[in-house]
């Protein structure tokens, strides 16, 4: 399949047709995940470096599983134990990796723009698995995929993104992608966890969750990093939970059949009530399953694009 992009750095690179193509491809890969033998030879002989300079469980594992199910060889590299921890620059580390001729590098890094930085310097495909507070395009794609599976289409739906928007790459990517696919997006969180220029993000902002949730079709809770309290951004976690914690009573104010999402890992009882996390309205585990299919689609699209034309 022809694919115009070398790298996936941010969803803002994608046209609507690109995003839909990824979701369609993911739908076909989803089927592989339900087979007794979950492996196809599409990427046999290809190698994917999973370069996670910041901690990750689900994204890294998800890419690893996705690569292996397509028969790619995956190699994991973390910051601890890599030359980065010896003071090597990011540029030199990734040039070293490139010299080993991988077909794609999946990278997570704590600096915003890090994926773009390496993509400018590498010939192989770079897939951003989260850079600082900037972007998490594969998470946004898997969220959109999860909701599309549920609803058929995002057109006209309203999604509330709730919590720490300021420090969230998930929020930044989802705001753009959900709108691209026709959804309305709202934001809700304490002022201290919203970017100062939140208006620049172009969506309505609420400080009262009970108002924000009214009539929405989905609530996307964000993970609260617990150190935000120490940083003086919150009085205490109990108060956060009271003001901004998602629960069944609040979800009752949303549209009928409204669902909740969370990129994980969740702090039960803080961002989301424990019973809601496990309720049928919760798509949290569907997101994880979708993640593998979406990442299979992405690895396939970005790696096979590089093959010479026959």
């Amino acid at each position: 399949m022809s694919w115009p992009h070398k790298d996936l750095l941010d969803v803002t690179q994608l046209a609507k047709a690109d995003a839909l193509a990824i979701l369609n491809a993911a739908a076909s890969f989803q089927e592989i995940n339900s087979r007794p033998v979950k492996k196809v030879p599409i990427l046999k002989g290809k190698s994917v470096v999973l370069f996670f300079a910041e901690a990750s469980t689900r994204t890294k594992t998800s890419f690893d599983v996705a690569g292996k199910r397509l028969s790619a060889d995956t190699f994991a590299l973390q910051k601890a134990g890599s030359s980065l921890s010896k003071g090597e620059s990011l540029k030199d580390t990734v040039l070293t990796l490139q010299a080993m001729a991988p077909d794609a590098i999946v990278m997570r890094h704590n600096a915003s723009g890090a994926a773009a930085f390496i993509a400018q310097r590498l010939d192989c495909a770079v897939i951003n698995a989260g850079d600082g507070w900037h972007a998490h395009p594969t998470q946004a794609l898997l969220d959109a995929f999860t909701l599309t599976r549920r609803w058929g289409s995002l057109e006209g739906r309203t999604v509330l993104i709730l919590g720490d928007i300021a420090h969230s790459r998930v929020a930044r990517s989802n705001i753009h992608l959900l709108r691209l696919l026709g959804a309305n997006v709202r934001l809700c969180g304490p002022r201290t966890l919203l970017p100062h220029a939140v208006g620049a993000l172009g969506v309505p902002v609420f400080s009262n969750l009970d108002e924000a949730v009214r009539g929405v079709d989905a609530v996307m809770c964000l993970r609260l990093q617990l150190e935000r309290q120490q940083a003086g951004l919150l009085p205490d976690l109990r108060e956060y939970s009271r003001r901004f914690g998602m629960n069944q009573a609040r979800l009752a104010k949303a549209a009928r059949n409204a669902v909740v999402l969370h990129p994980g890992p969740i702090n039960r009882g803080l961002e989301i009530a424990s019973d809601l996390a496990d309720a049928p309205e919760s798509l949290i585990l569907d997101q994880v399953a979708s993640g593998v299919a979406v990442r299979m689609a992405l690895l396939h699209l970005y790696i096979t694009r590089k093959e010479p034309k026959e």
Binding site: S112, D131, W133, H134, H196, V198
Partner: protein, 426 residues
């Protein structure tokens, strides 16, 4: 009257370009400025043809980083002064954040020795001593010792003194010595480690931003202290409207405050950081169009007195990192005059304000001899080709610091000669 040793023929005075002049120089000083062709050049005098070139007093940069001692891979005093000369600067103040910090006489002396050894004819180097030991903001540096060694100002630039009581005492002590204090205004708690303005671009890119209030709060503190104590303070690299408004009000109330801004705040906005361009990462950060307009107006009405480069060279590999990890700073000597000249050509800034901000006010504020082209003035001047175009490339810059967001851009105006005390140092 001495016999002229140098005659500069047919130069165009910056403030009166319709009337070409001849400049007569002897023993490093101005003998006179006369209508072109009014007097013959005396026999034996060197004649410098300046047809079509603009004549300006030499520029004074009260804010630069030359990196020596300690970070010679970024810049040395030799390369820094060469770049300064190429930019038209006859006087250069170098900040104290070297390694070791310039908080003792031996470091000051080392800098002056290096300048003398590599640039005996100029540009002149004026070390700025640290205000506090190690720039740590905890105890005063030996200011008298630093003055005696040759420091012409004191500053904790880059690591501003957050403790207002200590800063007050520093201002008082320095004023006893008759040495100006330069303050980098930044509330370190409100604007932590940010190389981008807090605003639309930082929100989009997911970068920690520095609010303008972080600068303005410290500006307000300094203005209040200056007025209360009756002691002058010079505010470095002002970047935003809020600060301008506070300074304007303070000056109107008689506070002995002076201020500078830099060409990059006038020519660029926060959008230059799009794409995580680390070359545009500078502290204070590039702000918005509205801030730019406020700075231009403030230069025009004298609220902001001076221009300075904040020349901050870094090696290429240091800027070749993700944005958050890159050091702050723009290499500024060689683009400064072209950038501001273009603003004047576009009508964003008057030539009068440009000459005042680059040449007159810095010399007045810091007590340096000033060339007003009157008999006896130091023959510090430059000849500027206002029509020449040049492209900013790493190869075009003699500074070791190639870090400028203007790379690739074509600029107008080239310094053809830079005279310090009657000698061309280009």
């Amino acid at each position: 009257m001495s016999q002229a040793e140098l005659v500069v023929r047919s130069a165009l005075p910056a403030l009166d370009p319709e009337n070409p002049v001849d400049l007569f120089v002897a023993k490093g000083r101005v003998l006179g400025l006369h209508p072109a062709g009014a007097y013959p050049a005396p026999e034996g005098a060197k004649v410098h043809d300046a047809q079509g070139l603009v004549l300006l007093p030499g520029l004074t940069d009260v804010h630069a980083h030359l990196r020596e001692p300690g970070q010679e891979w970024k810049e040395t005093i030799a390369t820094g002064l060469a770049a300064a000369a190429k930019g038209g600067f006859v006087n250069v103040f170098c900040m104290a954040n070297t390694d070791p910090v310039n908080d003792k006489a031996s470091v000051t002396q080392f800098m002056l020795d290096k300048a003398l050894a590599t640039h005996p004819r100029g540009p002149r180097l004026f070390p700025v001593g640290a205000l506090t030991v190690g720039l740590d903001g905890k105890e005063l540096a030996p200011l008298e010792e630093l003055k005696a060694a040759g420091c012409r100002a004191f500053s904790n630039d880059g690591r501003p003194v957050a403790d207002s009581e200590l800063f007050r005492r520093a201002m008082e002590y320095a004023s006893d010595l008759g040495v100006p204090v330069i303050d980098h205004c930044e509330d370190p708690f409100l604007a932590p480690h940010a190389g981008i303005n807090e605003g639309a671009v930082s929100a989009r890119l997911g970068l920690r931003g520095a609010p303008t209030a972080g600068e303005a709060i410290q500006v307000a503190r300094d203005c209040l202290l200056a007025q209360y104590l009756g002691v002058p303070v010079h505010l470095a690299h002002i970047s935003c409207r809020q600060s301008v408004e506070i300074i304007r009000r303070a000056k109107a109330q008689g506070a002995p405050v002076t201020a500078e801004t830099c060409p990059h705040y006038l020519a660029l906005t926060e959008e230059a950081c799009e794409g995580y361009d680390t070359a545009a990462k500078v502290n204070p950060p590039l702000r918005t169009k509205d801030d730019q307009l406020a700075l231009l107006a403030a230069l025009e009405d004298g609220t902001i007195d001076a221009l300075a480069t904040d020349h901050a060279p870094h090696a290429a590999h240091e800027k070749e990192t993700p944005f958050d990890e890159a050091p702050n700073g723009i290499s500024g000597f060689e683009t400064a005059l072209s950038v501001t000249w273009e603003l004047a050509q576009r009508g964003d800034l008057s030539t009068r304000a440009l000459v005042s901000a680059w040449c007159v006010r810095p010399a007045e504020i810091f007590g340096l001899p000033l060339n007003r082209f009157q008999e006896g003035d130091p023959a510090d001047f430059l000849l500027f080709d206002p029509k020449a175009r040049w492209k900013v490339t790493p190869q075009a810059l003699v500074s070791k610091g190639k870090n400028t967001p203007l790379t690739g851009r074509e600029l107008t105006g080239v310094v053809r000669a830079c005279f310090v005390a009657g000698k061309n140092v280009l």
